[in-house]
Amino acid sequence: MRITALLAATTIAAGFFTAPALAETTVTFWQFSTRDADIAAWNGAIASFEKANPDIKINMEIVPWSEQQQRLVSALSAGGLPDVSMLGNNVVAQFQSAGALAPLDEYFAAYDKEHGTDVAADVWPGDKGYYNLAGKWWASPVNVETRALYYRKDLFKDAGLDPEKPPQTWADFAADATKLTRDGTYGAALSMSLDYFTVQNFMSAYLGYGARMIGEDGKCGFDTPEFKSALDTYVSVYKNKATHPDAPSMSGDTFRKGFRDGKFAMILSDAGLYKDLQNDKAPFLDQVSIAMVPAGPKNRSGFLGGWPLVLWDASENKEAAAKWILYATHGDALKTLASEGGFIPGSVSLAKGEPWTNFPYPLFVEQLQDARAYQYPSEAIPQMGQLEVDTIQKAVQAVALGQQTTDEATAQLCTTINEVLAR
């Protein structure tokens, strides 16, 4: 009898104590940045969101960028996906195709109705190709990134080049890189390795030359004179010894570090590099200038990077999760995240205001108008995650190392792309 009474009392007490918790929804959020500044900014955003929405708790877990694909694929196959996560823009189509993401259209509409906005119209033109698939929105952008040409005016002068006239085309870039290679400094930090940095640079060249990854027939579109010219021009920088001799095996981070150490005269990089140079107190900082990415004979195309937040279809808290996504990717929350993290926001209207009107951002914002996806002008394809790593970079590396001719590398590239597309 005493035991029964004790159990009853415990149950009632537990009911009282857990009542507020029952009303609270926990949203698990995988955040990929390990930078202290980013983590602090996200914690700030979470605190203000929870204050405005006391019934929702955001549980942020740090999953480093280097591990995110493994973690997401493992969770997708074995369970354990979060409610919300970041995602690389290039793999949104991959996970959407796998049926793992939930569409955001109704949440966009509800947010617009409540705030009098048009969030879809505020997405960068290039990003729409990544996030609006089959007529629906699958991601809400946080960050958008493009590359511009950083160059050293002092080294231009030393090499007899006009420091006010940075290379305008890829052909000029290759020629200037050769002239700038002297006295232990390499002309260009241009990667030829199996690293994302390679395809992120090379895509500006092949799109600029008018080549396209996917042809009208839905198959590989690279087997064209335009692509081969772009490949030859790009690789000539290595063949003319105008970049580091280890370029076919060096990582993007090493190139970036090399520019910061004064070993390279030119590099294509994002706005964050300028902040790094400021933090380094680089002795040549006042000699660093930034210009638009070189153009090809057909157009000027910048790399289009970035990451959005996505809502995973397995989430049991979609309403709360979507509320968090919309909060973090718009308005003051996004402005704080972007300004503290030093990146350009995925919202066009925000990027046109302070602090992105200050140097060096305006040039990057301008460049973003010409930033395109790897497969431009085709729609995003789910296989991009495979293709960008295992095909394009291999072709560049093979030609740079003389293991294949341009024709052979292009033919093999198209064979592989077609195999992957037909799988």
């Binding site: 991959q94 796998a98 690293d195 280890d246 076919p248 495979q386 799988r423």
Partner: protein, 308 residues
């Protein structure tokens, strides 16, 4: 004797209260090994069964969110995948090369450390460094050492004519040979410790008898040391070979499987199948084939030891 047994049994029965026995004596051994069997089952047999089941599914996540029965579809695809078989070939070279380098480095080091000196004792602790250092640290460290601008090892290789102006990691053959060497160098301490234990267990009398019989240093090594440590070499070599066969980290960090596919071993091919291609069922089929091949090779190695 019989009366003593009865006495002991009687004493046990007296000390155990009637009806309070948790486990009858005949079940006791099973109860003792039960937890170990359960753990082995949970961490080895269940995942293995899952991998085998998965390998029989048709599951390309881009086309199909959930697995469905595919029979031998992955094994048929695997048989036609020439790139995969090339990576299996590289994996055997990698495995044998790694064990060879480990033996080559470990044997003289173990013989040196077998001497009772202060330096040997200090070196015994230091020798463990490569073994305990994470792959990520070693990988980036070696990349620096092989850098054509500032790497001291590159300068040495350049001096003796092995490396050209660029890093050896740009050359398919040299890159593969280099990371095989690094893989062997990392595993060396484990073999050194095992060999050292085996060397210390050889009785001094054997060497003294051989010396009395007029055996020189080489003869003593060949006829006394080698037979005494042979079993250790085979057993530990097999363990290290199995570890090498399943490698992924080092070649991925050093070269990402390149230049081209020159250093793509099966671990990398499997990683790409799962995480880049989103084909977990195909990757499971690769892992089953790896297991079968390794099982056969291990059987041969152990049989060779028994024949010896």
């Amino acid at each position: 004797m019989a009366s003593r047994q009865e006495t002991v049994t009687g004493a046990r029965a007296a000390s155990r209260p009637p009806g309070r026995s948790l486990l009858p004596d005949r079940w006791l051994p099973y109860g003792m090994i039960g937890p170990a069997v359960f753990v082995a089952f949970a961490i080895a047999i269940v995942p293995l069964c899952y991998a085998f089941w998965l390998s029989l599914q048709d599951w390309y996540m881009l086309r199909q969110p959930l697995p469905k029965w595919g029979g031998l579809i992955n094994y048929r695809a695997l048989l036609q995948d020439t790139q995969l078989w090339a990576s299996f070939g590289r994996t055997w070279i990698w495995t044998l090369g790694t064990v060879f380098v480990e033996l080559l480095l470990a044997m003289p080091i173990a013989l040196l450390l077998n001497r009772e000196t202060g330096i040997a004792r200090t070196a015994s602790a230091l020798i463990l460094l490569p073994w305990v250092t994470p792959f990520i640290v070693l990988g980036f460290g070696w990349r620096f050492l092989l850098d054509s601008d500032v790497g001291p090892i590159h300068s040495f290789l350049h001096l003796i004519g092995i490396a050209g102006d660029s890093s050896v990691l740009n050359d398919p053959v040299l890159a593969f040979a280099t990371i095989i060497f690094i893989s062997g160098w990392k595993g060396t301490p484990f073999l050194v410790i095992a060999l050292l234990a085996a060397l210390k267990s050889i009785p001094d009398e054997l060497y003294e008898a051989a010396e009395v019989d007029g055996a020189g240093a080489w003869s003593r090594f060949w006829h006394v040391t080698v037979p005494s440590i042979q079993n250790t070499v085979v057993t530990v070599g097999l363990v290290l070979g199995i570890l090498a066969f399943y490698s992924f980290d080092l070649p991925w960090i050093m070269t990402k499987g390149g230049p081209q596919d020159a250093t793509t071993i099966v671990g990398i091919a499997m990683y790409k199948a799962v995480f880049l291609d989103l084909r977990p069922a195909y990757a499971a089929a690769i892992s089953i084939v790896m297991l079968v091949l390794l099982f056969i090779a291990s059987m041969f190695a152990l049989r060779a030891r028994r024949i010896d």
